[in-house]
Amino acid sequence: MKLKSIFASTVAAVALSSAAMAADVKVGFVYVGPVGDGGWTYEHEQGRLAVEKHFGDRVETIFQESVPEGADSERVMTQMALQGADLIFTTSFGYMDPTINVAKKFPKVKFEHATGYKRADNVSTYSARFYEGRAVQGHIAGKMTKTNKIGYIGSFPIPEVIRGINSAYIHAKKANPNVEFNIVWAYTWFDPAKEADAAKALIEQGADVILQHTDSTAPQAAAQEAGNVITFGQASDMADYGPLPRVSSIIDNWAPYYIARTQAVLDGTWTSTDTWDGIGPGMVGIGEISSAVPADVKAEAEALRDALASGEYHAFTGPINKQDGSAWLAEGETADDGTLAGMSFYVEGLTGSIPQ
């Protein structure tokens, strides 16, 4: 009798303590850069921390940083799934196929892939309409440039980056018809030395505005060193580099989405979805426009931001031709999400070709 009761109470105690210890849901995050990159990965990490803060003990999070895109990421995701993760966020475009592959092997685990377009029953995709922010940047860039040359550091020639280039160009051109874009592909998301070299090469070619679609703050430092060059924070505010060279920024705000999706898993209401939010719902933020920007330009930029947020203006509104001169959007027509999601062409006026 006595032995039995001891045994029973032990079992109960163990069950209790493990219930108290183990969270209801385990969420994994796969990052392409280090959490201290000051840009893209940093903001995803802020989202993860927000999830931890919001749910407390109910949710446990795990993450792995600097995971190369490709086969290695499959290993990391598999490991997370085996560790018991219920929900895994894979936060770079290059994780698209690996995410789909791993998701097939773990049908009960939910996956969320950022910036991609392949979905499955247990794979959602989510992205932000960064191109809305690029429109605001393009406007400021067009107004501010004195050499009429704008340098653009691209990472990889994928739709997300091409959309940003097009959006920035269209609005820079509207603000200043003489503007020219020089585009450099760095073929990396994160390599501060190379990003700085790219910025320097563009500055040597006469660019006095640098837009970047890579993740570190290195181009900001290079611009500061050169002087008389303005930049924009990418993914994160990069306010340390204001008021010059950084005059504004695009800020990614993933926290509300991560919290909502984690909640859905907790409630058992998670389904595969495709989310693409912009300035309006707050997934894309425009960082403070610094004092280096003249008041009238600032006011115009803010008006543009608000029009994009309310939906009264779309960043891709016709007439817009493709680079080869063929018509894309007629007067007043706006681009549909399908075309935007797979965008693989430059708009008219941009020079050079997109690497294949």
């Binding site: 850069g33 280090p34 959490v35 201290g36 990159d37 000051g38 600097s66 340098g151 020089n182 585009i183 450099v184 592909w185 760095a186 073929y187 990396t188 994160f190 390599d191 501060p192 030395a193 190379k194 700085a196 070299d197 790219a198 320097k200 090469a201 563009l202 040597e204 070619q205 660019a207 570190s216 703050t217 290195a218 900001q220 430092a221 290079a222 500061q224 060193e225 990069m238 340390d240 580099y241 020079t351 050079g352 070709s353 690497p355």
Partner: protein, 307 residues
């Protein structure tokens, strides 16, 4: 003077800057490997040098002091590797990889409060007389001090290895440690010094990235430069001046392709990005066809005095 819309003066000048970190790391590793030790921890020592140099420079507002402490930090970190490998006979490959991981972790920890801070920049040092020469002056003689120091280190390593007694002993240790030991040379001590020298050079290279080339501190900012340095040592078949050529070739093509793109030249980027690696493979094939890779015979082998 313009070639394809690129100013060659600016191109060569920025090529030298972008090649300096890998040159420093590669010349240090050349000495380490010449003594018969393979240290794969270059990346780790570089990034620790980058963060320590940055922290010192920010706090003292003296970039040169930053370089000095970076070299010391790299050398200190390498003593961990040296102790494990030389005294505890641990596997060199595994220990070196471990050193890289330790370096990345330690630097992230140390650097946290320094993200987004600006460092005092190192001034360019125009060599009197020489910098006034048209074209060549701004191209070669108007850099910051570290660019010249890196070339000076290459020259010193070359001279020491080739013409001094110490260089001969170091090479003997690397070629056949048992014979060197039998002749009474202190194999362990010589290797320990070589490893520390390699660590100091890697630290300098890392600091050059965080203090001159970028200049800022970002976690993981060396982004594989240490591995390229290791490749360059092999590419150069363990010869100091070829290390210089290799580093400038790698650095040069990286900068060249970015400049070509910025100038809007229609050369496919993919080929340019690939070219340093293609050239390395071609060089390795040519070298091995000639039958002598130049690798020190005792490279990577454990040394035990009793055997």
């Amino acid at each position: 003077m313009n070639l394809l819309g690129i100013d060659p003066i600016l191109l060569i000048a920025s090529l030298m800057v972008s090649a300096t970190p890998i040159l420093l790391a590669a010349i240090g590793e050349t000495v380490v490997e010449k003594s018969g030790v393979l240290n794969l921890g270059v990346e780790g020592m570089m990034i620790v040098g980058a963060v320590v140099g940055f922290i010192t420079a920010v706090n003292t507002e003296n970039p040169l002091l930053g370089f000095l402490t970076a070299a010391i930090a790299g050398a200190l970190l390498s003593t961990i590797f040296a102790t494990l490998v030389l005294y505890f006979k641990s596997n060199q490959v595994a220990t070196g990889l471990g050193l890289t991981l330790v370096g990345l972790g330690v630097s992230a920890l140390l650097g946290k409060p320094y993200e987004g801070i600006k460092s005092p920049t190192i001034k360019s040092f125009e060599i009197p007389m020489l910098s006034d020469i048209p074209v060549l002056g701004p191209m070669l003689f108007s850099h910051d001090l570290m660019v010249y120091i890196s070339i000076l280190i290459v020259a010193l390593v070359w001279y020491t290895l080739k013409y001094t007694r110490f260089g001969l002993i170091l090479r003997a240790v690397g070629e056949n440690h048992d014979a060197a030991h039998a002749l009474g040379y202190k194999v362990i001590r010589i290797r320990f010094m070589a490893i520390m020298f390699g660590g100091a050079c890697a630290g300098l290279g890392g600091a050059y990235i965080s203090l001159a080339r970028v200049p800022q501190w970002t976690e993981g900012m060396t982004a594989g430069a240490g591995w390229i340095a290791l490749a360059i040592v092999v590419f150069a078949s363990w010869k100091p001046w070829r290390t210089l050529i290799g580093a400038y070739l790698f650095g040069g093509i990286t900068v060249l392709q970015l400049n070509l793109q910025a100038a809007g030249v229609a050369i496919p980027v993919e080929y340019l990005s690939m070219s340093p690696f293609l050239i390395t493979i071609a060089v390795l094939v040519i070298i091995s066809a000639r039958g002598n890779q130049g690798a020190p015979a005792s490279l990577g082998r454990l040394f035990h005095a009793s055997s």
